[in-house]
Subunit: 209 residues, 2 copies
């Protein structure tokens, strides 16, 4: 019985956390960093201020946790969607498109608000720098996996990293206006260039279509 | 004599404007959008509030004008520096490096503060959307010129645009920590791939080193 009660508490606590995370990202997207107050997030999540404070002491901790939580969820989603692709010649194009569209999403917008605020806020920066490193490594790992890239070949590691930096740059260009048509054309061209780089020196496949 | 007085007034007005522009960008870099008040900028520029208001009615107008003014100046600088390059095989690498380092500068940081603020501020957004389009076109024009790119060939236009989006993505990765070493490696790999794309189908030179 005691174990059951404890489990219910754990579930409720996890659910509270999840609600806070989602509300925080929504709030960042809608109102930016300046408009994302802990009061507003608690209200939006339907969570009491006490419960919120039990989970997160400051706005910085709340926002950093939200960006990481939603990021991890989205990474799972990305992997699942990519699992549906076959390994045809168009796989590189499909993966680059998936990554570029993943970045051009609300999660990136929320992260951007956090990153920019952290630049001029030393306490926030202390939280965000290690988060940036973790997110960067995780994105790289996923991209290598989805592209089936062999990083032992010269230039491949950098080409994969360039793909992620390009995706971030394209996401930035999507903040004020819908840039999806231009993005689509650039993604196709980059996928062609990337595919050639990934296949360069691959035994027996280098010249295949 | 009247003409001379008028000329002095024009010069003084231009100088006031220039001081305000520089102070605004410095202020954005140091304190972000939230900390860039018109009072602080006027103080920093050593310009009276009256003179400032004569030039710019709102903070949004001041900041948008500053980002555009400093952007135009920097574009001139970029063209001058690139003029010193010869047209050797390394030119593409030198140009991509120049562009990537240009974006990873204080001007980009200032622009980023403005862009992010504009996303959730409709009045500011109204100023920044056309500014973004102008800046985007000008950057593209300069990149085509510096790279000597022939946009009539398939994929070349998109490869040049991708270079600028990559530069923006790399600049973003440079906001919280110094990312210059990683950037250097990615730029070299990108330049190799871009050079191949620019030369693809070029009569008689496609296979040259």
């Amino acid at each position: 019985m005691a174990a059951e009660t404890r489990q219910r508490q754990v579930d409720r606590s996890r659910e509270t956390r999840r609600k806070l995370m989602t509300a925080t990202v929504e709030c960042l997207v809608e109102r930016g960093w300046a408009g994302t107050t802990t009061t507003l997030v608690a209200e939006r999540a339907g969570v009491s201020r006490g419960a919120q404070l039990h989970h997160f002491r400051t706005r910085g901790e709340l926002v950093a946790a939200a960006v990481e939580h939603v990021g991890v969820q989205s990474a799972h989603e990305l992997r699942e969607r990519a699992a549906a692709f076959d390994s045809s010649a168009d796989r590189t194009n499909a993966v680059v498109e998936l990554i570029a569209n993943f970045f051009a999403s609300d999660l990136f917008t929320a992260a951007l608000e956090l990153w920019v605020a952290a630049r001029t806020d030393p306490e926030l920066k202390r939280l965000v720098v290690p988060l940036e490193a973790r997110v960067g490594r995780e994105c790289h790992r996923i991209a290598v996996e989805l592209l089936g890239a062999d990083e032992s070949r010269p230039g491949v590691r950098e080409a994969v990293q360039a793909t992620l930096d390009l995706a971030r740059g394209l996401a930035l260009a999507n903040q004020l206006t819908d840039d999806s048509r231009r993005r689509g054309r650039i993604v196709r061209q980059w996928a062609t260039m990337l595919d050639a780089a990934l296949r360069a020196g691959e035994p027996g496949t280098g010249d295949q279509p």
